[in-house]
Amino acid sequence: MKNKTISILLLLFLLIPVAAFTITGEEIIRKADDMQVFDTSEASGEMRIKDRFGIKVSTFNAWSRGKYESLLEFTSLAERGQKILRTEDELYLFYPDAEELIRMQGSMLRQSMLGSDISYEDMTGGKDRISQYDVVLEGEENINGNDCYVLIMTAKVRTVPYPKEKVWIDKKTFIIWKAEYYTKSDRLLKEMETLRVEEIGGRMIAMESRISDKMKTDTETIMIINKIRINTPLDVDFSLDDLSW
């Protein structure tokens, strides 16, 4: 009996440090999502959509506050002045030629932005992947010299664009270095790679990433952040006044 008690105590002693330092899949995703949320941010960048006919470039300015509020203004010629204001559950669009405010909700948030591989939701943040996916920590791998957690995310709801995702998240910085997007039947649709990160204001930020369409040859979207400031005061209030200006 005494030996048994000692064995149990020994086992508990050995397990405590493991339990104390084990991180779950949900916690990793939560930290990765938190890395993408700022008190405020102000950025300018460009989206390069490449296909077999060449490259189409859209440039933009973007502002965000917290998890859900963001404002996007396109500055490239074909879309100049078009703006998107995102709140927690709404999307407002402004078309300068028509001088028209359009309020949209629901499914519009998940649609492709300007025909790219990026949705309005991706672009404007506000993701809550823990409530949308079951997360399993599959293991660890090294991606381009970075030690990463490998996670499998399976959709719990039908309102997400991809039923299954596999993501590689940096063990130290929680940057997502790579992600693969699958159908329900495990067919690879898209692949995202982070090409360049920078430390800004104590946070690691993905400055350049590539999304490749695995169903087609020679098509990809490169998202580049040219300038970004985080956690500094903004002169926008994410209002209709800012949207229609």
Binding site: I49, D51, F53, G54, I55, K56, V57, L77, A78, R80, G81, Y95, D97, A98, E99, E100, L101, I102, R103, M104, Q105, G106, S107, M108, R110, Q111, S112, G115, S116, D117, P161, T183, L189, D213, M215, K216, T219, D237, F238, S239, L240, D241, S244, W245
Partner: protein, 392 residues
């Protein structure tokens, strides 16, 4: 004609000065067009030509608190057969700490609706005769001044004065001006917009059908209140209503108000269909409940109900296919437009449209019109357009 030439010369000579502080863009669409039309003797024949439109825009840049745009549109040809140059926009917006001021010629989007919008009391979006080949269907502008005052982040109040049509002296009578006010806010999940527009001069002839005998009247001063709601029930929905009340003390006020009372509503939903594609649905309708509910020869354009369905399929990042139609259910006629666009290169699209009118000669839309107005009618039943658009 002299004025047109002077305007063009003015623009050309101004270009070097404008370049420094402006961004200049040209938006052009050119189509190979085949139409069924009528000759001088009103006999139908098939015509072919290059048609199109262009817009040159000079946008201000650099000043965060001032924005300006000067846009001239050139359409070729119109029914007269010659290119038409229009000053589409010429406005300056300025942002003050507590309000915003806009002065010039521009558009103002009141109410909700892609084709039918009862809330659009300034320009009117109730007519069935709309060109369905454009990305924006209602593009009319007017000379106006507005003051926009925010009431919180998602609410504002907007005051408006519109200038009268220009007379020979270059200005109109002050009594012919328009003025209005709207409130835009959100209550719960519903956007509520309500407003009022007074038009001091309106040249619309009202066909008074509510009275026993049909009368055609031109009424100058009009009051136009409206309300517009928008929300989501799975699809996004919108509902607008407005009425036109003559500003005169007369027995026909009630008749006019009944004839012009109109309600428009719409549903919009977008869904993913397969990999990287999306399918969107839009259904709009306008109802003028006191107009004609039974088919009647000669009543085209005065029926009580119109429907606009639209289905659009976006294939991948560059291809868009659409079917749009304006249906007049009372006389069983329709205009159906199928569209195709392919964004091949940056700023460059290949476009194609087919428009077919279905209906008898006296219907709202007809394959063979009974009455042909050679000054305004161009298409008799069908048109095919294949072309390009470019922005640079």
């Amino acid at each position: 004609m002299v004025k047109r030439i002077l305007t063009v010369l003015l623009l050309i000579t101004a270009v070097p000065f404008l370049i420094a502080e402006n961004s200049i863009s040209v938006d052009m669409e050119l189509y190979n067009t085949v139409i069924k039309t009528r000759d001088d003797s009103f006999n139908p024949y098939w015509a072919y030509g290059i048609t199109g439109k262009g817009a040159v825009s000079f946008k201000s840049s650099g000043n965060r608190n001032v924005r300006a745009d000067l846009v001239t549109d050139i359409t070729f040809p119109d029914s007269s057969g010659i290119p038409v140059l229009i000053l589409q926009k010429a406005y300056v917006k300025s942002k003050f700490p507590n309000f915003r001021l806009t002065v010039g010629k521009t558009r103002l989007g009141w109410g909700d609706g892609f084709v039918f919008n009862s809330g659009d009391v300034i320009f009117g979006s109730t007519s069935p005769y709309v060109n369905l080949t454009g990305s924006e269907l209602r593009t009319e502008t007017t000379w106006l001044s507005t003051v926009n005052y925010p009431l919180g982040r998602f609410s504002f109040i907007e005051g408006l004065v519109t200038a009268p049509d220009l007379s020979a002296s270059g200005m109109g009578g002050i009594g012919d001006s328009g003025a209005g006010l709207r409130l835009y806010t959100k209550v719960g999940g519903v956007k509520i917009e309500t407003g009022y527009y007074f038009n001091g001069k309106d040249n619309t002839s009202y066909d008074i059908t509510y009275t026993e005998t049909t009368e055609y009247l031109t009424i100058n001063a009009l009051h136009r209140p409206y309300i517009s709601l928008q929300g989501n029930i799975g699809p996004d929905w919108y509902l607008n209503s407005s009425v036109t009340i003559p500003a005169l003390n007369s027995s026909i006020i009630e008749s006019i108000a009944k004839d012009t009372f109109n309600i428009s509503f719409g549903l919009f939903h977008i869904m993913e269909t397969g990999y990287n594609n999306s399918l969107s649905f839009r259904l709009e309708s306008i109802i003028l409940p006191y107009l004609i509910w039974d088919e009647d020869k000669g009543a085209a354009g005065s029926y009580a109900m119109l429907i606009y369905p639209e289905i659009s399929l976006v294939l991948g990042p560059t291809i868009n296919l659409s079917v749009r139609s304006i249906i007049s259910p009372i006389d069983y006629s329709a205009q159906i437009t199928t569209g195709f666009s392919w964004n091949v290169f940056e700023g460059y699209c290949l476009l194609g449209y087919t428009t077919i009118n279905v209906g008898d000669g006296n219907d709202t839309f007809s394959w063979n019109k009974s009455i042909w107005n050679s000054g305004t009618d161009m298409i008799d039943g069908i048109s095919l357009m294949v072309g390009v658009s470019v922005i640079y």
